[in-house]
Symmetry: C2
Subunit: 206 residues, 2 copies
Protein backbone atom coordinates (compact mmCIF):
# COMPACT_ATOMS: atom_id res chain seq x y z
CA UNK A 1 0.00 0.00 0.00
CA UNK A 2 2.72 2.43 0.93
CA UNK A 3 5.32 3.02 -1.75
CA UNK A 4 8.75 2.33 -0.39
CA UNK A 5 11.73 4.36 -1.54
CA UNK A 6 14.04 1.47 -2.16
CA UNK A 7 16.36 3.63 -4.20
CA UNK A 8 16.68 6.88 -2.29
CA UNK A 9 18.68 8.22 -5.20
CA UNK A 10 15.76 8.24 -7.60
CA UNK A 11 13.41 11.08 -6.89
CA UNK A 12 9.71 10.40 -6.52
CA UNK A 13 7.62 10.93 -9.56
CA UNK A 14 4.44 12.89 -9.58
CA UNK A 15 3.31 15.81 -7.54
CA UNK A 16 4.90 15.81 -4.10
CA UNK A 17 2.85 15.67 -0.93
CA UNK A 18 2.15 19.04 0.61
CA UNK A 19 2.07 17.60 4.13
CA UNK A 20 4.15 15.36 6.34
CA UNK A 21 2.46 12.01 6.64
CA UNK A 22 3.84 11.23 10.10
CA UNK A 23 2.83 14.61 11.49
CA UNK A 24 -0.68 14.21 10.14
CA UNK A 25 -0.87 10.71 11.60
CA UNK A 26 0.17 11.96 15.03
CA UNK A 27 -2.47 14.67 14.90
CA UNK A 28 -5.09 12.08 13.99
CA UNK A 29 -3.89 9.78 16.74
CA UNK A 30 -4.41 12.45 19.37
CA UNK A 31 -7.88 13.24 18.13
CA UNK A 32 -8.85 9.55 18.16
CA UNK A 33 -7.24 9.23 21.58
CA UNK A 34 -9.35 12.06 22.91
CA UNK A 35 -12.66 11.28 21.21
CA UNK A 36 -12.56 7.63 20.26
CA UNK A 37 -13.34 6.24 16.82
CA UNK A 38 -17.03 7.01 16.57
CA UNK A 39 -16.66 10.33 18.39
CA UNK A 40 -14.20 11.60 15.82
CA UNK A 41 -15.74 12.85 12.59
CA UNK A 42 -14.13 12.84 9.21
CA UNK A 43 -14.19 16.63 8.99
CA UNK A 44 -12.56 16.94 12.42
CA UNK A 45 -9.81 14.64 11.21
CA UNK A 46 -9.04 16.42 7.96
CA UNK A 47 -9.13 19.75 9.80
CA UNK A 48 -6.63 18.73 12.45
CA UNK A 49 -4.46 16.93 9.92
CA UNK A 50 -4.51 19.94 7.65
CA UNK A 51 -5.39 17.98 4.53
CA UNK A 52 -8.32 17.63 2.17
CA UNK A 53 -10.60 14.66 1.74
CA UNK A 54 -8.87 13.52 -1.42
CA UNK A 55 -5.44 13.66 0.18
CA UNK A 56 -6.87 11.79 3.14
CA UNK A 57 -8.09 8.88 1.06
CA UNK A 58 -5.06 8.96 -1.16
CA UNK A 59 -2.73 8.69 1.84
CA UNK A 60 -4.65 6.69 4.42
CA UNK A 61 -7.32 4.73 2.58
CA UNK A 62 -10.21 5.20 4.96
CA UNK A 63 -11.14 6.38 8.41
CA UNK A 64 -10.92 2.87 9.76
CA UNK A 65 -7.51 2.24 8.18
CA UNK A 66 -6.27 5.48 9.70
CA UNK A 67 -7.56 4.41 13.08
CA UNK A 68 -5.62 1.19 12.79
CA UNK A 69 -2.48 3.16 12.01
CA UNK A 70 -3.17 5.46 14.92
CA UNK A 71 -3.59 2.55 17.31
CA UNK A 72 -0.40 0.99 16.04
CA UNK A 73 1.46 4.26 16.55
CA UNK A 74 0.07 4.62 20.05
CA UNK A 75 0.86 1.01 20.92
CA UNK A 76 4.45 1.46 19.76
CA UNK A 77 4.83 4.61 21.79
CA UNK A 78 3.14 3.16 24.87
CA UNK A 79 4.94 -0.15 24.81
CA UNK A 80 8.17 1.83 24.87
CA UNK A 81 7.60 3.11 28.40
CA UNK A 82 5.65 0.01 29.33
CA UNK A 83 8.41 -2.44 28.54
CA UNK A 84 11.15 -0.14 29.82
CA UNK A 85 9.39 0.21 33.17
CA UNK A 86 8.91 -3.51 33.55
CA UNK A 87 12.65 -3.97 33.07
CA UNK A 88 13.39 -1.51 35.86
CA UNK A 89 14.71 -2.40 39.32
CA UNK A 90 15.66 -5.64 40.95
CA UNK A 91 12.48 -7.12 42.36
CA UNK A 92 9.18 -7.68 40.65
CA UNK A 93 7.64 -5.15 43.00
CA UNK A 94 10.20 -2.59 41.84
CA UNK A 95 9.28 -3.26 38.25
CA UNK A 96 5.57 -2.79 38.82
CA UNK A 97 6.19 0.28 40.92
CA UNK A 98 8.07 1.72 37.97
CA UNK A 99 5.30 0.62 35.64
CA UNK A 100 2.58 2.40 37.55
CA UNK A 101 4.67 5.51 37.92
CA UNK A 102 5.38 5.51 34.22
CA UNK A 103 1.69 5.05 33.50
CA UNK A 104 0.77 7.89 35.84
CA UNK A 105 3.14 10.13 33.93
CA UNK A 106 2.05 8.96 30.49
CA UNK A 107 -1.62 9.38 31.38
CA UNK A 108 -1.22 12.98 32.52
CA UNK A 109 1.02 14.61 29.96
CA UNK A 110 0.00 18.13 29.07
CA UNK A 111 1.01 17.63 25.44
CA UNK A 112 -1.37 14.72 24.95
CA UNK A 113 -4.92 13.76 25.82
CA UNK A 114 -5.25 12.34 29.30
CA UNK A 115 -5.60 8.66 30.06
CA UNK A 116 -4.86 5.66 27.89
CA UNK A 117 -5.96 5.52 24.28
CA UNK A 118 -6.35 1.77 24.43
CA UNK A 119 -7.76 1.24 27.92
CA UNK A 120 -10.84 3.33 27.35
CA UNK A 121 -11.44 2.63 23.67
CA UNK A 122 -14.52 0.92 22.28
CA UNK A 123 -15.77 -0.36 25.61
CA UNK A 124 -19.17 0.83 24.44
CA UNK A 125 -19.82 1.11 20.72
CA UNK A 126 -22.27 0.32 17.97
CA UNK A 127 -22.32 -3.20 16.49
CA UNK A 128 -20.89 -1.74 13.30
CA UNK A 129 -17.61 -1.29 15.17
CA UNK A 130 -17.42 -4.79 16.59
CA UNK A 131 -14.22 -5.48 14.72
CA UNK A 132 -12.53 -2.47 16.23
CA UNK A 133 -13.87 -3.52 19.60
CA UNK A 134 -12.21 -6.92 19.26
CA UNK A 135 -9.00 -5.22 18.17
CA UNK A 136 -8.94 -3.13 21.33
CA UNK A 137 -9.66 -6.15 23.49
CA UNK A 138 -6.66 -7.83 21.90
CA UNK A 139 -4.50 -4.80 22.59
CA UNK A 140 -5.50 -4.81 26.25
CA UNK A 141 -4.76 -8.51 26.41
CA UNK A 142 -1.28 -7.87 25.04
CA UNK A 143 -0.54 -5.53 27.94
CA UNK A 144 -1.85 -8.06 30.42
CA UNK A 145 0.33 -10.74 28.83
CA UNK A 146 3.40 -8.55 29.15
CA UNK A 147 2.69 -8.12 32.85
CA UNK A 148 2.16 -11.82 33.25
CA UNK A 149 5.52 -12.52 31.67
CA UNK A 150 7.24 -10.18 34.09
CA UNK A 151 5.50 -11.93 36.98
CA UNK A 152 6.66 -15.29 35.68
CA UNK A 153 10.17 -13.89 35.68
CA UNK A 154 9.65 -13.00 39.33
CA UNK A 155 8.72 -16.57 40.14
CA UNK A 156 11.74 -17.86 38.29
CA UNK A 157 13.94 -15.43 40.20
CA UNK A 158 12.53 -16.62 43.51
CA UNK A 159 11.00 -13.22 43.91
CA UNK A 160 7.46 -14.51 44.07
CA UNK A 161 6.13 -17.71 45.57
CA UNK A 162 6.00 -20.59 43.10
CA UNK A 163 2.36 -21.00 43.98
CA UNK A 164 1.58 -17.52 42.73
CA UNK A 165 -1.45 -17.41 40.45
CA UNK A 166 0.10 -15.53 37.56
CA UNK A 167 -3.11 -15.12 35.59
CA UNK A 168 -4.98 -13.69 38.53
CA UNK A 169 -2.18 -11.34 39.50
CA UNK A 170 -1.73 -10.12 35.94
CA UNK A 171 -5.46 -9.64 35.71
CA UNK A 172 -5.39 -7.60 38.87
CA UNK A 173 -2.62 -5.30 37.65
CA UNK A 174 -4.29 -5.00 34.30
CA UNK A 175 -7.48 -3.99 36.06
CA UNK A 176 -5.71 -1.32 38.05
CA UNK A 177 -3.98 -0.04 34.94
CA UNK A 178 -7.27 0.26 33.07
CA UNK A 179 -8.85 1.94 36.05
CA UNK A 180 -6.01 4.43 36.13
CA UNK A 181 -6.80 5.28 32.54
CA UNK A 182 -10.35 6.19 33.47
CA UNK A 183 -9.27 8.13 36.53
CA UNK A 184 -6.88 10.14 34.38
CA UNK A 185 -9.64 10.75 31.84
CA UNK A 186 -11.80 12.06 34.67
CA UNK A 187 -9.13 14.56 35.60
CA UNK A 188 -7.21 12.85 38.40
CA UNK A 189 -3.79 14.40 39.05
CA UNK A 190 -0.53 12.65 38.37
CA UNK A 191 0.12 12.51 42.11
CA UNK A 192 -3.19 10.80 42.77
CA UNK A 193 -2.48 8.21 40.09
CA UNK A 194 0.96 7.52 41.53
CA UNK A 195 -0.51 7.13 44.99
CA UNK A 196 -3.08 4.67 43.68
CA UNK A 197 -0.40 2.76 41.83
CA UNK A 198 1.62 2.45 45.00
CA UNK A 199 -1.38 1.14 46.91
CA UNK A 200 -1.89 -1.47 44.23
CA UNK A 201 1.55 -2.84 45.08
CA UNK A 202 0.36 -3.99 48.49
CA UNK A 203 -0.53 -7.34 46.92
CA UNK A 204 3.17 -8.08 47.03
CA UNK A 205 3.52 -7.63 50.78
CA UNK A 206 2.25 -10.56 52.77
Amino acid sequence: MVTKNIQTQRKARGRPSSFDRETALMAAMRLFWDRGYEGTSFDDLTAVMGISASSFYNSFGSKEALYHEAIDAYARQASAWFVAALETGQTTADAFRALFEAAACAFTRCDSPSGCMIASAATQCSPAQSRLKELMIDQRRLAEDAMKQRLALGVKAGDLAPTTDLDALAGYFSTVMQGLGIQARDGASREKLIEIGHMALSVFKQ
Copy 2:
Protein backbone atom coordinates in the same frame (compact mmCIF):
# COMPACT_ATOMS: atom_id res chain seq x y z
CA MET B 1 -43.08 16.33 32.54
CA VAL B 2 -44.71 13.05 33.55
CA THR B 3 -48.41 13.29 34.30
CA LYS B 4 -49.07 12.00 37.77
CA ASN B 5 -52.26 10.17 38.59
CA ILE B 6 -53.11 12.03 41.75
CA GLN B 7 -56.65 10.79 41.68
CA THR B 8 -56.40 7.13 40.78
CA GLN B 9 -60.17 7.03 40.57
CA ARG B 10 -60.34 9.22 37.50
CA LYS B 11 -59.32 7.37 34.43
CA ALA B 12 -56.79 8.86 32.03
CA ARG B 13 -58.25 10.85 29.21
CA GLY B 14 -57.28 10.31 25.62
CA ARG B 15 -55.96 7.33 23.76
CA PRO B 16 -54.09 4.96 26.06
CA SER B 17 -50.46 4.07 25.48
CA SER B 18 -49.92 0.90 23.55
CA PHE B 19 -46.71 0.14 25.44
CA ASP B 20 -45.45 0.01 29.00
CA ARG B 21 -43.23 3.00 29.64
CA GLU B 22 -41.06 1.29 32.24
CA THR B 23 -40.47 -1.75 30.06
CA ALA B 24 -39.49 0.44 27.14
CA LEU B 25 -37.16 2.43 29.37
CA MET B 26 -35.44 -0.72 30.61
CA ALA B 27 -34.94 -1.90 27.04
CA ALA B 28 -33.43 1.45 26.13
CA MET B 29 -31.21 1.36 29.21
CA ARG B 30 -29.74 -1.98 28.20
CA LEU B 31 -29.06 -0.78 24.69
CA PHE B 32 -27.33 2.36 25.97
CA TRP B 33 -25.46 0.23 28.50
CA ASP B 34 -24.18 -1.99 25.74
CA ARG B 35 -23.44 0.60 23.06
CA GLY B 36 -23.06 3.91 24.82
CA TYR B 37 -24.86 7.10 23.89
CA GLU B 38 -23.28 7.83 20.54
CA GLY B 39 -23.14 4.17 19.58
CA THR B 40 -26.89 3.80 19.96
CA SER B 41 -28.95 5.09 17.06
CA PHE B 42 -32.45 6.44 17.23
CA ASP B 43 -33.78 3.65 15.04
CA ASP B 44 -32.10 1.01 17.19
CA LEU B 45 -33.80 2.52 20.21
CA THR B 46 -37.32 2.64 18.80
CA ALA B 47 -36.88 -0.89 17.47
CA VAL B 48 -35.84 -2.38 20.79
CA MET B 49 -38.44 -0.33 22.65
CA GLY B 50 -41.13 -1.41 20.23
CA ILE B 51 -42.46 2.07 19.61
CA SER B 52 -42.56 4.59 16.78
CA ALA B 53 -40.72 7.87 16.55
CA SER B 54 -43.76 9.89 17.50
CA SER B 55 -44.45 7.78 20.56
CA PHE B 56 -40.79 8.09 21.45
CA TYR B 57 -40.85 11.87 21.47
CA ASN B 58 -44.25 11.99 23.06
CA SER B 59 -43.06 9.83 25.92
CA PHE B 60 -39.40 10.61 26.35
CA GLY B 61 -38.75 14.01 24.77
CA SER B 62 -35.47 13.32 23.06
CA LYS B 63 -32.65 10.83 22.80
CA GLU B 64 -30.63 12.76 25.34
CA ALA B 65 -33.51 13.00 27.80
CA LEU B 66 -34.03 9.26 27.47
CA TYR B 67 -30.36 8.68 28.15
CA HIS B 68 -30.65 10.71 31.33
CA GLU B 69 -33.58 8.60 32.41
CA ALA B 70 -31.67 5.45 31.55
CA ILE B 71 -28.68 6.55 33.58
CA ASP B 72 -30.92 7.42 36.50
CA ALA B 73 -32.58 4.02 36.31
CA TYR B 74 -29.21 2.29 36.17
CA ALA B 75 -27.83 4.36 39.03
CA ARG B 76 -30.84 3.49 41.18
CA GLN B 77 -30.47 -0.18 40.42
CA ALA B 78 -26.70 -0.17 40.89
CA SER B 79 -26.70 1.87 44.07
CA ALA B 80 -29.04 -0.74 45.50
CA TRP B 81 -26.40 -3.46 45.53
CA PHE B 82 -23.64 -0.93 46.01
CA VAL B 83 -25.00 0.53 49.23
CA ALA B 84 -26.24 -2.81 50.49
CA ALA B 85 -22.80 -4.36 50.03
CA LEU B 86 -21.06 -1.51 51.82
CA GLU B 87 -23.34 -2.08 54.81
CA THR B 88 -22.37 -5.74 54.95
CA GLY B 89 -20.14 -7.34 57.59
CA GLN B 90 -18.38 -6.00 60.61
CA THR B 91 -15.07 -4.61 59.43
CA THR B 92 -14.40 -2.20 56.63
CA ALA B 93 -12.54 -4.96 54.83
CA ASP B 94 -15.65 -7.12 55.02
CA ALA B 95 -17.71 -4.35 53.51
CA PHE B 96 -15.37 -3.88 50.59
CA ARG B 97 -15.07 -7.58 50.06
CA ALA B 98 -18.84 -7.71 49.77
CA LEU B 99 -18.77 -4.70 47.46
CA PHE B 100 -16.36 -6.27 45.01
CA GLU B 101 -18.21 -9.56 45.05
CA ALA B 102 -21.46 -7.76 44.38
CA ALA B 103 -19.83 -5.83 41.56
CA ALA B 104 -18.42 -9.02 40.07
CA CYS B 105 -21.91 -10.49 40.05
CA ALA B 106 -23.59 -7.37 38.72
CA PHE B 107 -21.03 -7.00 35.94
CA THR B 108 -21.50 -10.54 34.65
CA ARG B 109 -25.23 -11.14 34.65
CA CYS B 110 -26.46 -13.06 31.66
CA ASP B 111 -29.67 -11.02 31.54
CA SER B 112 -27.82 -7.73 31.12
CA PRO B 113 -24.90 -6.32 29.18
CA SER B 114 -21.59 -7.02 30.84
CA GLY B 115 -19.64 -4.46 32.83
CA CYS B 116 -20.75 -1.20 34.34
CA MET B 117 -22.91 1.22 32.38
CA ILE B 118 -21.38 4.19 34.20
CA ALA B 119 -17.75 3.14 34.52
CA SER B 120 -17.18 2.80 30.81
CA ALA B 121 -19.47 5.55 29.55
CA ALA B 122 -18.30 8.62 27.65
CA THR B 123 -14.62 8.20 28.47
CA GLN B 124 -14.04 9.00 24.82
CA CYS B 125 -16.65 11.03 22.97
CA SER B 126 -17.19 13.92 20.62
CA PRO B 127 -17.16 17.46 22.04
CA ALA B 128 -20.89 17.62 21.31
CA GLN B 129 -21.40 15.20 24.18
CA SER B 130 -19.29 17.08 26.70
CA ARG B 131 -22.30 17.60 28.95
CA LEU B 132 -23.00 13.89 29.08
CA LYS B 133 -19.32 13.31 29.71
CA GLU B 134 -19.42 15.59 32.74
CA LEU B 135 -22.57 13.85 33.93
CA MET B 136 -20.82 10.49 33.86
CA ILE B 137 -17.80 11.89 35.65
CA ASP B 138 -20.14 13.11 38.37
CA GLN B 139 -21.74 9.69 38.61
CA ARG B 140 -18.37 8.02 39.01
CA ARG B 141 -17.47 10.59 41.65
CA LEU B 142 -20.64 9.71 43.56
CA ALA B 143 -19.55 6.09 43.79
CA GLU B 144 -16.12 7.14 44.97
CA ASP B 145 -17.69 9.38 47.59
CA ALA B 146 -19.84 6.54 48.88
CA MET B 147 -16.73 4.42 49.29
CA LYS B 148 -14.94 7.24 51.04
CA GLN B 149 -17.80 7.59 53.50
CA ARG B 150 -17.61 3.90 54.33
CA LEU B 151 -13.88 4.24 54.89
CA ALA B 152 -14.45 7.20 57.19
CA LEU B 153 -16.82 5.02 59.14
CA GLY B 154 -14.01 2.50 59.46
CA VAL B 155 -11.73 5.12 60.95
CA LYS B 156 -14.43 6.18 63.38
CA ALA B 157 -14.94 2.54 64.38
CA GLY B 158 -11.23 2.14 65.03
CA ASP B 159 -11.16 -0.24 62.12
CA LEU B 160 -8.67 1.80 60.12
CA ALA B 161 -5.76 3.89 61.35
CA PRO B 162 -6.69 7.52 62.00
CA THR B 163 -3.85 8.52 59.71
CA THR B 164 -5.49 6.72 56.80
CA ASP B 165 -5.64 8.82 53.64
CA LEU B 166 -9.31 8.43 52.87
CA ASP B 167 -9.19 10.22 49.52
CA ALA B 168 -6.34 8.09 48.26
CA LEU B 169 -7.87 4.85 49.46
CA ALA B 170 -11.26 5.70 47.99
CA GLY B 171 -9.53 6.64 44.75
CA TYR B 172 -7.78 3.31 44.74
CA PHE B 173 -10.98 1.31 45.24
CA SER B 174 -12.75 3.43 42.68
CA THR B 175 -9.95 2.69 40.23
CA VAL B 176 -10.22 -1.04 40.79
CA MET B 177 -13.99 -0.88 40.43
CA GLN B 178 -13.73 0.94 37.11
CA GLY B 179 -11.08 -1.47 35.94
CA LEU B 180 -13.38 -4.35 36.81
CA GLY B 181 -15.99 -2.80 34.57
CA ILE B 182 -13.60 -2.88 31.63
CA GLN B 183 -12.45 -6.40 32.41
CA ALA B 184 -16.06 -7.55 32.44
CA ARG B 185 -16.70 -5.78 29.15
CA ASP B 186 -13.72 -7.65 27.72
CA GLY B 187 -15.28 -10.93 28.73
CA ALA B 188 -13.64 -11.75 32.05
CA SER B 189 -15.49 -14.37 34.04
CA ARG B 190 -17.25 -13.70 37.31
CA GLU B 191 -14.68 -15.83 39.10
CA LYS B 192 -11.82 -13.80 37.70
CA LEU B 193 -13.46 -10.56 38.77
CA ILE B 194 -14.02 -11.89 42.28
CA GLU B 195 -10.42 -13.00 42.49
CA ILE B 196 -9.24 -9.57 41.41
CA GLY B 197 -11.53 -7.93 43.93
CA HIS B 198 -10.10 -10.07 46.69
CA MET B 199 -6.57 -9.13 45.72
CA ALA B 200 -7.51 -5.48 45.85
CA LEU B 201 -8.32 -5.96 49.53
CA SER B 202 -4.69 -6.54 50.36
CA VAL B 203 -4.30 -2.81 50.97
CA PHE B 204 -6.04 -3.44 54.27
CA LYS B 205 -3.45 -5.93 55.49
CA GLN B 206 -0.81 -3.28 55.66
